[in-house]
Assembly symmetry: C2
C-alpha cells in the first residue's frame, strides 16, 4: 500500500482505536497497515493521546513488553454524563409513556443504539479499571445496554435465560423470589458460559425491589464468579430498601401519578 500522510495516519489510527475500544493493538499492526516505521507510529500515537485528552474522550495507553501495544479507553466526562442523563430523564418523563397499571413505556429508549452506546460509555467509565471479564444480564430489555457496555470494555456479554434452552447444553438453574411480586421465578445459564474465577459486571435496565439483581448475583456464586459491580439504568425510589445494596443506578423513577398523568424521573449520579 502507498504511504499515508501524517494526518491520514492520525485519522485512521483514531478510527481503528475507537472502533474497538480497550483492545490492545500491537505496533506491528500499525506499521503493517500504514507501511511506516515504528518510530513514526510512536509519534502518531503521542499526537492521538494528546488529542483524546484535550477533547476529554478518554485515554490512549501504551503498554510495553512482549504483549504490548496501544489501546483506547473511552471515558465520558462528568459534564456530558449530566447533560445526557438530564435529556433521558426528560424524555422518560413524557406522559405519553404512561401505561395503564402504573407502568412506563421505555423500549424505544432502551433499544436506541446511540442511547445505549452512551449508557455503555457511562457504565464503562464508572467501572473502569476493575479488570472485568464478562458483562452479565438477564433477558430481555437490558441486553442492548449490556452489549454496548461489553463493547466499550471489550469483553463478552453473557445472557441469563428465563427458561432452560436445549441449545445451551447443560445449564445451572436457580429459583429466586421476585422482590416486588413475591413470586418464585427461574433463571438459567449454560454451564460453559462463564469460567470459574471470572470477574463480572451485572447490567440491567430496571430495578424495583432488586429481586432479579439478587438472583443474578446468586447465579454468579454458582459459577464462582466475582461480581465487581451492578449497574442499573433506572431504579424506582420505592421500595427504598432493595434486596440488594451494592448497585449503581443512573436514573431514579421517583413515581408515576396516573391521575395527574405524570412520571417523575431524575438523574441519580
Amino acid at each position: 500500500m502507498k504511504k499515508l500522510k501524517r494526518n491520514e495516519r492520525i485519522g485512521a489510527l483514531m478510527k481503528i482505536l475507537s472502533d474497538r475500544p480497550n483492545h490492545i493493538f500491537t505496533y506491528n499492526y500499525f506499521t503493517d497497515i500504514f507501511n511506516a516505521a515504528k518510530s513514526t507510529i510512536s509519534e502518531d500515537i503521542v499526537i492521538a493521546k494528546e488529542l483524546v485528552e484535550k477533547l476529554e474522550l478518554g485515554d490512549i495507553e501504551t503498554i510495553s513488553g512482549a504483549s504490548g501495544g496501544v489501546k483506547y479507553s473511552p471515558r465520558i466526562s462528568k459534564n456530558k454524563i449530566d447533560k445526557f442523563l438530564k435529556e433521558i430523564a426528560s424524555k422518560l418523563s413524557d406522559k405519553s409513556r404512561l401505561i395503564p397499571g402504573g407502568f412506563m413505556y421505555m423500549a424505544d429508549v432502551l433499544y436506541h443504539p446511540d442511547t445505549v452506546y452512551n449508557i455503555g460509555k457511562i457504565f464503562a467509565t464508572k467501572f473502569a479499571g476493575q479488570n472485568i471479564d464478562y458483562v452479565v444480564t438477564v433477558e430481555t430489555k437490558g441486553i442492548p445496554l449490556a452489549l454496548m457496555t461489553g463493547k466499550i470494555l471489550n469483553v463478552p456479554l453473557v445472557i441469563i435465560r428465563r427458561n432452560t434452552k436445549v441449545t445451551e447444553g447443560p445449564t445451572v438453574s436457580i429459583n429466586y423470589l421476585s422482590g416486588s411480586t413475591k413470586q418464585i421465578q427461574t433463571m438459567s445459564l449454560s454451564r460453559r458460559a462463564i469460567p470459574e474465577g471470572s470477574r463480572v459486571l451485572i447490567i440491567d435496565d430496571f430495578m424495583k425491589a432488586g429481586g432479579t439483581a439478587k438472583g443474578m448475583q446468586d447465579m454468579m456464586k454458582e459459577f464462582k464468579a466475582h461480581v465487581v459491580g451492578t449497574g442499573i439504568m433506572i431504579a424506582t425510589a420505592q421500595p427504598a430498601n432493595k434486596v440488594v445494596s451494592n448497585y449503581t443506578n443512573l436514573l431514579t423513577l421517583k413515581g408515576i401519578d396516573e391521575d395527574k398523568e405524570e412520571i417523575y424521573v431524575e438523574p441519580s449520579i
Copy 2:
C-alpha cells in the same frame, strides 16, 4: 477551546464519524467544536473522504441543503467479509460445540461484541441504500446482531417478544407455525413500536425451516411495514425448502454428525 492542528482535526473527525455511523453531522457542529472556519472543515472532510476510500472503510458523504452535513457509512470489503466468515465458520465447526440432540453451542460467538459488530457491518453493507427505518428481531439470541446492525445503519432496534408484557402497553400478537417442530407459537409486539409505512430490516441468528422469519414477516404486515430484507447469520442446509424465500444468510450449517463428532459450517455469501 484552543484551535486544533489539522492532523488533530482529522483524528477527531474520524473518531466522531465512526462513533456514530450514518448520522448526519452539520458543518456547524464541527466548526463549533474545532473552533475553525467552514472552509477549513470542508478541506478536512475531503482528506477524511479520500482516506476511507483508500483504506476501503466505506464512504464519507457530504449532503448539501438546509439539513445538510456530513455522514460516514461504513462498508466492509468483499475480501474482509470472506476472511471474517471463514474464521467464524471454522470457529463454529469446532466439535466442542456439539450439544446432545444435534445442536451446536454458539452463544459465545453471538454475544461477542466485536464479532456481532462485524456482522452488523456486513448486513449494513448488504442492505445499504434501502432507507431502512427499523431493524426488527425476535428475542433472544439475535438481539446483539440486530442491535449492532441498527448501530451501523443509525436506526432503532425493535424486539418482538415471545410473550405479552404488561410494560409494553397494547400489543399485537400473532400465532405462527414453527417450521421445524410444527408447533404453534406466539409472538407479540407493542402497538407503538413501529409506525405505519415504515421500512424494516429483519435480522435473526438462526434459521431452520424459516417459521420464525415468516412469523416476523407476517407481524410486519400487521404494522403495515415494508420488509426490505431478512438477514440471517446461519441457516441450515436442510430443509432446502424454507417457508420463506427472500432471505440472506451469511453462513450455512451443512450438517451435524453426532457419531463422527463433526459440525459442518460454510460461508454462503
